[in-house]
């Protein structure tokens, strides 16, 4: 095994081009587990820990360009306003120690359906900035997850940053685990209200082979909100509407039975989370409207 320690981003891209099978390591919270437990022996480890720009973020006006290695603890602390859904998701990641090391780039690179950041990214709307010596491309998050623990990156590409749309309305994130802290998601749900476009976006984790959006639920809700003139109203949403949204969200799942939970439970729980988080965001919108 070789340990590559590029001092800068260009050097890292060059190394990845030269060794496309090299495994990038930043926070180490996925890669080192696999090495410690003898599940993985890459020929090259590519340490991204010395590349400072990966741990910085940048305000692009309507979005935040979040460096791939910005630790979750800093997202929680500094980006709660612009990226509330991701900040909430960050708070549910493993433990304080892990949140001090792990970042969104790792979640995306591993592309596990259980990664906590995915539902928040899907709900907010994001593009993954993938870069190689050949150049940079922006991959919409909806196109990023291609299979179980597979993503749209080319072998020579590294994740430089994620461009996440700033919140224009309330966002929520909720995850079910069988412990009250330090737990991998049995399933998770993210929701973002986008009053500017009068749309709602969602994200589901751990309830399908990849992170997904509950598209049918979104379409139903967007239409119903429009039809009922709800965006203009301060009233709570009708129960029947919320219930139908929850049913459709549960229906979007394609889960499996595994040691962490049953498929049936995951489907059920996503329905509950969809209903609750829609309620929370909608009432937060009422409050913010009222305050304004």
């Amino acid at each position: 095994m070789d340990f590559l320690r590029p001092a800068g981003w260009e050097e890292a891209l060059a190394a990845k081009a030269e060794h496309p099978a090299a495994v990038p390591i930043a926070g180490g919270t996925d890669v080192m587990v696999e090495i410690n437990f003898d599940h993985r022996r890459p020929d090259h480890l590519l340490d991204l820990g010395r590349i400072e720009e990966l741990t910085a973020w940048e305000d692009l006006g309507d979005s935040v360009r979040l460096g791939a290695s910005v630790p979750y603890s800093r997202i929680m602390k500094h980006l709660r306003g612009d990226l509330p859904g991701l900040a909430l998701a960050s708070h549910t990641v493993a433990s304080p120690q892990i949140r001090n090391r792990g970042g969104v780039g790792g979640n995306l690179g591993t592309a596990s359906p259980a990664g906590d950041a995915h539902p928040a990214l899907l709900a907010a709307g994001a593009e993954i900035e993938a870069e190689s010596v050949r150049g940079t491309r922006l991959i919409p998050v909806d196109d990023f997850y291609t299979g179980v623990k597979r993503n749209a990156l080319a072998p020579d590409e590294l994740i430089r940053a994620v461009r996440i749309r700033k919140a224009d309305g309330p966002q929520q994130f909720s995850k079910v685990g069988t412990r009250n802290a330090m737990v991998i998601a049995v399933c998770a749900f993210g929701i973002a209200l986008h009053p500017e476009t009068r749309t709602v976006r969602t994200g589901i984790g751990s309830a399908a082979p990849t992170p997904i959006r509950a598209k049918a639920a979104e379409e139903f809700l967007n239409a119903a909100l429009e039809e009922g003139n709800h965006w203009e109203s301060e009233a709570p949403l009708p129960d029947s509407l919320v219930k139908q949204f929850a049913t459709l969200a549960a229906g979007a799942c394609n889960p499996i039975d595994d040691v962490r939970g049953t498929a049936a439970y995951r489907r059920h729980a996503i329905g509950v989370l969809a209903r609750r988080t829609l309620g929370w965001t909608w009432s937060a919108r009422e409050r913010s409207t009222a305050c304004a």
């Binding site: 410690n36 909430l88 994130f173 079910v176 412990r179 009250n180 802290a181 737990v183 049995v186 939970g261």
Partner: protein, 794 residues
């Protein structure tokens, strides 16, 4: 000695009295908070090699061939060993039945069974070499439960059994069976106005001690070996290790290294024989350290159980009868299954007076992971079932569940289904009264005035699953009975060596036992006993090793009783010697030497009236008093193999819990809000440690109520979650406040009246949490741990 990192002499030298009954601080506390305390995995020796174990990927298979050639050829590899390399006639070990091969011989019987060993100069070299050992397996049909174990033509886990249980078990795949017959069940049933039955399932729990199995074996010039290891019972290890190494016991010198928790999981051997084999083969020190994955295969677990219970009662709530059948899955090797059967059977009725009882308890041999000792040892599974039954019965009778329990509660003088009379305080009703009398914790603690819900106080915790929606509170009660010490006629003794001398004008006592300090605080208590008995403030605890006689196991809540008793006994004998010397040397100077009751206090000989006769320095001068003595508790008897009758136990321990839970009924997530415990400890030798034991035991019971389970795939008998990612134990956010009410009703048969403490709180905690969840949800919940899908019906 060349090995380093071995815990040295631990001294408590304070000016305070520090005798029994005080919350003196741990003598190893400073080392533990500075990171200097040497655990087994911290051992280091120059030139040492790393041992690694190759384990079976199958639960049941014939080993067709093993080729170690390529592994051995790797650079940095010093040895590769298989069953064929075992040096002695004896190839197997076992606590009671020697049925466990040191390395698999022609067949593997469970997932993760050790097949081969590697010693190399770096752990990675050893792992890579192990991956190059070519083992050809031919999978065999599986035995996974009672039906498949006892089916006609079922594969036998162990053919040709000749152990002493073989003759009385109905099938060779049954390790041991213990019936209990007491009174007349038919007559009792005829008197019953209400009968409730239930089928209960208890999942496989792991001890999940944090310090992984580790040790260092150092070959010695005399052909023997020095082994530094984390274990619960040095001498039982020695008895099993030496024959497999082909060495006399005196050539295997064992020293206890720092132990990172045990809870029963270190009662069986793990890497001990393996490290010694590699060290003897290579002539170099060999260190072995399991990682967490391997640890799940490196020790036995708590027996999963299926329990069928039938209780009857009269309309006014008096129990009429009990019929129960408890089937424990012992897995591939016997470990301590027979004793677990004895406990589950003899304590299967719980702390209740029931005149008519029929109990059948058995343990199976299967291809599942081997199970053995874990805190509570057979009594835990039974308590889960009989306490669920009490609630069910109370509901059927329309009675308060606590009142029903109190009405039938055992007390001093009550007779157990084994015919044994309870001859010390049994405050079962009082313990229940105390936990019930506590004020309930405030409701809706997640709410703050005007602010958002504090999710940390809600089910789901940081995962932000509810802000109060769907959350329902429930309260549940449970009480349990655990035996203390080894039962059924076992010669349960301990040994203590106590030396008293004066050094630099100051009397110093040295206490030397082989007791495994696994965290419970035995060494703290030994120093306290020595101070109380010898009146010295300076007590040094000698490292535990096999240079002194056996202390027995750090299990069965027995060490303070038995090794504490041995230390007390040895101190008393030392005191007698001191007084003898005093009388001989100074007796003529004061008549009180001959006439008064004499004590040692504050480094002096004093009369019971408080008059100082001499200092220890004056009495002893340069002399050293040094005695090694054995001490045993009252003898017990085996249970009759047909009726289960017999005075099998020496002492009982009782605890009661009240659990308050909040359940997110829509998502099936549980937050335990409070877990109050009341326990009788006879005499709290160290109140701080006692409370710590009770809180820790309660939390392990909470864990198996709501999250902890080793999941074994029934189709393959393989473990599906051997990691801390998927075998979850409670975090600090899952653990509630645990108020503890300690009673001290002396047991006159025990040293200082004390009662073993460690296990009882693990029993009643689980059923109390389950009862509270039932109260919140109205569900029957016959299985533990409860998973979200059980609460949501999905």
């Amino acid at each position: 000695m060349t090995a380093t990192g071995v815990p040295g002499h631990l001294t408590q030298g304070s000016a305070t009295r520090g005798g029994i009954g005080e919350s003196t601080l741990r003598p190893d506390g400073t080392l533990k908070v500075t990171g200097e305390f040497a655990y087994a995995s911290d051992m280091w020796h120059e030139d040492m090699l790393w041992g690694h174990t190759l384990r079976s990927p199958h639960a049941h298979a014939r080993i067709v061939s093993v080729d170690t050639g390529e592994a051995l050829a790797q650079a940095g590899v010093y040895a590769v060993l298989t069953h064929d390399d075992l040096p002695a006639e004896v190839k197997n070990y076992g606590l009671e039945i020697q049925d466990t091969p040191a390395l698999a011989h022609g067949r593997v019987r469970h997932h993760g069974e050790p097949v081969a060993l590697v010693a190399a100069d770096h752990p990675e070299t050893a792992r890579r070499a192990a991956a190059k050992i070519k083992v050809v397996y031919e999978e065999l049909p599986l035995v996974t439960d009672e039906a498949s174990a006892t089916a006609p033509g079922a594969p036998l886990l162990h053919e040709g059994r000749d152990d002493h249980h073989a003759a009385h078990t109905p099938h060779p795949n049954i390790v041991h069976r213990q019936p209990i017959v007491h009174g007349d069940v038919a007559a009792g049933r005829a008197r019953a106005d209400v009968v409730v039955t239930g089928e209960y399932v208890f999942g496989m729990q792991d001890q999940a001690f944090l310090g992984p199995e580790s040790g260092l074996a150092v070959p010695a010039e005399d052909g023997g070996v020095d082994l530094y290891v984390a274990t619960q019972w040095l001498h039982a290890d020695l008895r099993q290790i030496a024959p497999v190494l082909g060495l006399p016991e005196e050539k295997v010198r064992m020293t206890l290294s720092g132990v990172g928790g045990a809870f029963g999981g270190r009662e069986d051997l793990s890497m001990q024989i393996h490290a010694c084999l590699l060290a003897l083969r290579t002539g170099k020190p060999v260190k072995m350290v399991y990682n967490r994955f391997e640890s799940f295969f490196g020790h036995v677990h708590r027996h999963p159980a299926k329990l069928h219970y039938e209780h009857g009662a009269t309309r006014d709530g008096k129990l009429t009868h009990l019929v129960c059948r408890i089937v424990l899955d012992g897995g591939a090797y016997a470990s301590s299954s027979p004793a677990v059967v004895g406990n589950a059977a003899s304590l299967g009725a719980g702390p209740y007076v029931i005149d008519n009882v029929e109990i059948e308890t058995l343990a199976l041999y299967t291809n599942n992971p081997p199970c053995g000792a874990m805190r509570g040892f057979g009594a835990v599974q039974a308590c889960f079932a009989y306490e669920a039954q009490m609630d069910k019965l109370a509901a059927a009778l329309g009675m308060d569940p606590v009142e029903l329990r109190q009405l039938n509660a055992m007390e001093q003088g009550s007779v157990l289904p084994t015919g044994q009379s309870v001859d010390s305080p049994a405050p079962v009703a009082e313990l229940l009264r105390r936990v019930k009398a506590r004020p309930l914790p405030p409701e809706r603690q997640w709410e703050s005035a005007g602010g958002p819900a504090d999710v940390r106080a809600l089910p789901g915790g940081l995962s932000n699953t509810t802000h109060g929606e769907g959350v329902v509170r429930g309260v549940g009660y449970a009480v349990g009975i655990k035996n203390v010490g080894f039962s059924e006629g076992f010669d349960d003794y301990s040994t203590a060596r106590v030396r008293l001398q004066v050094a630099g004008g100051e009397p110093v006592a040295v206490v030397h036992t082989a007791m495994a300090e696994v965290g419970q605080g035995g060494i703290t208590v030994h120093a306290q006993i020595a101070r109380t008995e010898l009146g010295v403030s300076q007590v040094t605890i000698h490292p535990a090793d096999t240079q002194v006689g056996s202390a027995g196991s750090t299990s069965a809540s027995r060490q303070t009783y038995v090794t504490g008793g041995a230390v007390k006994h040895a101190c008393e004998a030392v005191r007698e010697k001191v007084l003898e010397r005093g009388r001989a040397k100074l007796g003529t100077y004061h008549p009180a030497w001959a006439t008064a009751e004499l004590l040692l206090e504050g480094g002096k000989v004093v009369t019971d009236g408080g008059e100082v006769l001499a200092s220890l320095a004056e009495v002893l001068g340069d002399e050293v008093v040094d005695l090694e003595l054995e001490w045993r508790h009252r003898p017990t008897e085996p249970f009759d193999l047909r009726t289960g009758q017999g005075n099998g136990h020496v002492q009982y321990s009782f605890a009661a819990h009240r659990a308050v839970v909040e359940v997110d009924t829509e998502l099936g997530l549980v937050k335990v809000v409070e877990l109050a415990c009341a326990q009788d400890v006879g005499k709290a030798l160290n109140p701080l440690s006692v409370v710590g034991q009770i809180q820790g035991g309660s939390t392990q019971g909470l864990g198996v109520a709501v999250m902890e389970e080793i999941v074994v795939d029934p189709a393959t008998a393989k473990v599906r979650n051997p990691s801390f990612t998927d075998y979850l134990i409670p975090t600090i956010l899952d653990t509630p406040t645990i108020p503890v009410d300690v009673l001290e009703l002396a047991d006159d048969h025990a040293p200082y009246g004390l009662r073993g403490v460690g296990e009882a709180p693990t029993l009643s905690s689980t059923p109390a949490v389950l009862a509270a969840i039932r109260a919140a949800t109205g569900l029957e919940l016959n299985r533990t741990p409860v998973r979200p899908e059980h609460l949501t019906g999905s």
